[in-house]
C-alpha cells in the first residue's frame, strides 16, 4: 500500500486541497490502485499547494500545485511510482532547495506526519521531551529551558526560562479567591499579525507538539490546567486541536494521571472573537476570563497575577512548541543554533507579494535580503520589491537599504525594525506608502481596546491628519502634527497597539516621503 499525501492545512484547503483529495480517492478506487490517502500538514511551501506527495523507497516525491483535473494524467504518468515525467513533479520533497536549506526544529514533523495520529507523532520522536520531564524536578525542567536561551516567540522576546522561574517561585495561595492554589499555563494562539501564520501551520500540522510543550510547562511550574486562547479566524486549527486534545486525553497524555505518573494536566481551548488586541497578553487574560479584552497595567505581572488572579505562564504557540525538543535534546543543543542573544531557530513567514511564500525556519542571523530573494524568489507580480514590513502591523516598513540587516532581535532593533513574530510582508513598487501609513492608523482605530486616550483618539486623528497630508492641506503643519501625534501615542499608551502604531507610520514617512507628496488616487482600501 502506497501512501499518498494531500495536506489538510488551511492554505492548501484554500487552494482546493479537498477537491484534489476527493478526486484522488475516486481515481484510486476506480483504478483499483494499491494506495491510501493521508491528510498531512503542509510543508509550508505555499506556492506549490496543493502539494501532493507520494512515498517511494528513496523518500517522498512531490507534485504541485495540483488541481483535481491534473489527477488522471498524474496517475497515467506513474505518479504512484514517483515518476518525474509529469511537469508538476518537483522531485524529492526533501531536496527542494527551499526546504533543504532550512533548519527545522520546531517544524520538524509538520507536513510529514498525519497531524492527528499519536502513533505517527511517537514514531517521529514525539513525547520524548515529556517522558524526560516526568523524571525531573520542576526546577530542573526550568534549568533546561533557561540553558536553551529560548526567548518568547510572540514578539516581545522575553526569556522563557526566567518567566517560568517566576511562576514556579510564585505562591499560588490566595485566600478567599476562587482559584486559590492553582497556577495556569496559557498559550497565546491569537496570531493576529498580518503576514504571520506559523502558529496556525504548527497547530494544524503538529498539534501534539504544542500539547506536549504545555504539559511540560505545567510540570515545570506546578500548574495543573492550561488554556489555548485561539483566534476564531482559525476554524481549521480549532477543529484539529479539538480532536487532538480528545485523543491525547484518551491516551493518557492529558488528564489526571499523565502516563501513569499520578500528575495532572487539563487542557482547554478558548475561542477569541475577532479582536486583534486580545493578542496582547493582558487583554487576552481578560478575554479568557470572559470580559472585554482590555489591556491591564503591569505590574502586577501575569506571572504573579495572571489568569483568574493566579500565577500564570503566558507563552506563544511557538515558544511552547520549542520546549519538547529542548527537553528531549537538552537546552544546550538548542542554544547551539543562533547568534548573540538570539538563540535557536525562528520560523520566518514569507507573505504578501512574493513568488515563493511560505514558512522558513532558520537559525537567527539570516538577512532579510536572503529571505526575500533566495527563498522568496522576489515578487510574484514580477515588479521590483519596494517595501517590506517585518514583525506585523506594528512593525516598520523597511526600504531596500535595510535588507542586509541580520534577522536577530537586537540587530533588527538597531535598524529601527523588529523581528516580532517573524512575519515578513513584501510589497512591490505599485504600493502607495501613504495609504499604508493611513491603514496603520485605521487599523489602530478599529482595534484599539480604548483604554488609553492617545491610542483610542490618536488613531482617529491620525487617519484625519494623514488624509489632509495626502490632500496637500497645510502640508508642513500637518506633517509636524503627525510626528507630534506619533510621539504622544508612543509615550502615552500602555501596550504596543498605541505605542507601536507609530512605527509603520514614521517609517513610511521617513523612507518613502515622495508617496505623501503625490496626489491621491482616491483608492482608500479597507
Amino acid at each position: 500500500m502506497i501512501n499518498v499525501y494531500v495536506p489538510r492545512d488551511t492554505t492548501a484547503l484554500s487552494l482546493g486541497a479537498d477537491a484534489v483529495a476527493d478526486r484522488l480517492a475516486r481515481e484510486i478506487l476506480q483504478r483499483s490502485l494499491s494506495a491510501q490517502l493521508v491528510r498531512n500538514g503542509s510543508r509550508g511551501l505555499f506556492w506549490l499547494e496543493p502539494l501532493v506527495e507520494v512515498d517511494t523507497p528513496q523518500g517522498r516525491v512531490a507534485y504541485g500545485p495540483v488541481t483535481p483535473d491534473d489527477i488522471p494524467a498524474l496517475l497515467d504518468q506513474e505518479m504512484l511510482d514517483g515518476s518525474n515525467s509529469h511537469p508538476l513533479c518537483q522531485g524529492y520533497t526533501e531536496a527542494i532547495p527551499y526546504l533543504q536549506s532550512q533548519q527545522r526544529l520546531t517544524f520538524s514533523r509538520v507536513g510529514i506526519t498525519d497531524p492527528l495520529s499519536i502513533a505517527d507523532y511517537r514514531n517521529h520522536d514525539g513525547f520524548r521531551g515529556l517522558e524526560r520531564a516526568l523524571t525531573l524536578e520542576a526546577s530542573q525542567i526550568v534549568d533546561e529551558v533557561e540553558r536553551s536561551g529560548l526567548r518568547g516567540r510572540g514578539g516581545a522576546a522575553f526569556p522563557a526560562g526566567r518567566k517560568w522561574r517566576t511562576v514556579l517561585d510564585a505562591d499560588s495561595e490566595r485566600p478567599g479567591q476562587p482559584w486559590s492554589g492553582h497556577k495556569f499555563i496559557v498559550c497565546n494562539a491569537d496570531e493576529g499579525d498580518s503576514g504571520t501564520f506559523a502558529d496556525r501551520l504548527l497547530m494544524e500540522g503538529d498539534p501534539y507538539v504544542l500539547i506536549e510543550g504545555m504539559v511540560i510547562a505545567g510540570l515545570a511550574v506546578g500548574a495543573d490546567t492550561g488554556f489555548i486562547y485561539l483566534r476564531s479566524e482559525y476554524p481549521n486549527a480549532h477543529r484539529i486541536l479539538t480532536e487532538a486534545i480528545t485523543r491525547a486525553e484518551a491516551e493518557g497524555y492529558l488528564g489526571t494521571n499523565l502516563l501513569g505518573s499520578g500528575r495532572t494536566f487539563h487542557l482547554y481551548i478558548r475561542l477569541g472573537a475577532e479582536a486583534y488586541i486580545c493578542g496582547e497578553e493582558t487583554a487576552m487574560l481578560d478575554s479568557l476570563e470572559g470580559k472585554r479584552g482590555m489591556v491591564r497595567a503591569k505590574p502586577p505581572l501575569p506571572a504573579h497575577h495572571g489568569a483568574f488572579g493566579q500565577p500564570t505562564v503566558v507563552n506563544n504557540v511557538l515558544t511552547l512548541a520549542a520546549v519538547p525538543t529542548i527537553l528531549a535534546e537538552g537546552g544546550q543543543a538548542y542554544a547551539d543554533y543562533g547568534m548573540g542573544r538570539s538563540r535557536g531557530t525562528q520560523p520566518f513567514q514569507l507573505a504578501g507579494n512574493l513568488a515563493r511564500g511560505g514558512l522558513v525556519e532558520l537559525a537567527f542571523g539570516v538577512t532579510l535580503r536572503s529571505l526575500l530573494y533566495d527563498f522568496g524568489g522576489g515578487t510574484e507580480s514580477g515588479r521590483p520589491l519596494r517595501a517590506v514590513q517585518v514583525g506585523g502591523p506594528l512593525g516598520a516598513y523597511l526600504p531596500e537599504g535595510h535588507w542586509d540587516t541580520p534577522m536577530d532581535y537586537e540587530a533588527m532593533a538597531d535598524a529601527g525594525g523588529m523581528v516580532g513574530h517573524g512575519g515578513i510582508v513584501a510589497f512591490d513598487d505599485s504600493v502607495d506608502m501613504a495609504q499604508q501609513a493611513r491603514f496603520a492608523m485605521e487599523f489602530c482605530r478599529v482595534e484599539s481596546c480604548g483604554k488609553c486616550t492617545p491610542c483610542r483618539i490618536g488613531a482617529v486623528r491620525g487617519v484625519e491628519v494623514i488624509d489632509r497630508i495626502i490632500a496637500d492641506q497645510d502640508r508642513t503643519d500637518n506633517l509636524a502634527l503627525l510626528q507630534d501625534l506619533c510621539h504622544t501615542m508612543e509615550m502615552g499608551s500602555l501596550c504596543a497597539m498605541g505605542g507601536m502604531t507609530p512605527n509603520p507610520v514614521r517609517s513610511a514617512l521617513q523612507y518613502f516621503p515622495d508617496d505623501f507628496a503625490r496626489p491621491t488616487t482616491g483608492n482608500e482600501g479597507g
Binding site: 488551511t10 492554505t11 484547503l13 484554500s14 487552494l15 505555499f46 506556492w47 496570531e191 493576529g192 499579525d193 498580518s194 503576514g195 504571520t196 501564520f197 502558529d199 496556525r200 476564531s232 479566524e233 482559525y234 476554524p235 481549521n236 478558548r270 475561542l271 477569541g272 472573537a273 475577532e274 479582536a275 478575554s287 479568557l288 476570563e289 470572559g290 470580559k291 472585554r292 479584552g293 483568574f308 513567514q349 514569507l350 507573505a351 504578501g352 507579494n353 512574493l354 511564500g357 511560505g358 510574484e380 514590513q389 502591523p393 512575519g423 510582508v425 513584501a426 512591490d428 504600493v431 495609504q435 499604508q436 491603514f439 478599529v446 482595534e447 481596546c449 483608492n523 482600501g525 479597507g526
Partner: protein, 180 residues
C-alpha cells in the same frame, strides 16, 4: 432570517446555559454557542445570560459589543469576510474590496437588499502567502481575484427555490450548499 420563536429560544437558552455556565470564564464560550445556534445574539437572550453568570446586563452587552465577532443583529444568508490586512493588500485586496462592494452594491457591515450576503472586513485569516483571502462560513479561500469573487458570488446566490423558501441560519445554509 426570522426572529427565533420565543419559546424555542428559551428552551435552547436553558440548555446552552446549563452546558456552559460552569466553565471558567464562561461568557465567551456561551456567547459563541448562542451565536452558533441562532446566527446572532438576540438581545432577548441577554437577561438570561447575565443572570446565569451573575453579571449585569450592561456587562454582557459590553462584551458583545467589544468583539467584532459577535453580532447583535441577524446577518444575511451568507457572511462574506474579505481580508483587509497588509499581506492581502500586497496581493490586491484593496482592488478586490472595491470590486466586491460595487458588485454587491453594499459597503462593509451591510447586507444585500435580497438578504443573501453580508459583507464584513476581517483582519487576517492566516493565509498570508496566497491572498487575497476570504472566508465564507468556516471555509477559507485563497487567491481570490475579482474574477474568482464573481464566480464565488454566483455560486453562493445560485440556490434552488425550495431552499430559499426556508428560514435558516448561515451555518445550515452553507452545509446545504456544500451538499448539493
Amino acid at each position: 432570517m426570522q426572529e427565533p420563536n420565543i419559546n424555542d429560544q428559551d428552551d435552547r437558552m436553558t440548555q446552552l446555559i446549563e452546558q456552559h455556565q460552569h466553565l471558567p470564564g464562561a461568557l465567551l464560550p456561551l456567547l459563541h454557542a448562542v451565536q452558533q445556534t441562532f446566527g446572532y445574539i438576540p438581545h432577548t437572550t441577554v437577561p438570561a445570560i447575565a443572570e446565569a453568570l451573575a453579571l449585569s446586563r450592561a456587562e454582557v452587552h459590553g462584551v458583545i459589543s467589544f468583539y467584532h465577532g459577535f453580532r447583535s443583529q441577524p446577518c444575511g444568508r451568507h457572511l462574506l469576510q474579505v481580508c483587509c490586512a497588509e499581506a492581502c493588500q500586497a496581493r490586491g485586496s484593496r482592488e478586490l474590496v472595491e470590486h466586491t462592494r460595487q458588485k454587491l452594491g453594499v459597503d462593509f457591515h451591510q447586507t444585500t437588499a435580497d438578504g443573501e450576503i453580508t459583507l464584513e472586513p476581517v483582519y487576517c485569516l492566516g493565509n498570508c502567502a496566497t491572498g487575497p483571502s476570504v472566508r465564507i462560513g468556516d471555509q477559507i479561500l485563497g487567491r481570490v481575484d475579482p474574477a474568482a469573487m464573481d464566480r464565488l458570488l454566483d455560486d453562493l446566490t445560485r440556490v434552488p427555490l425550495r431552499f430559499q423558501s426556508q428560514p435558516m441560519t448561515p451555518e445550515t445554509s452553507d452545509t446545504k450548499r456544500g451538499a448539493q
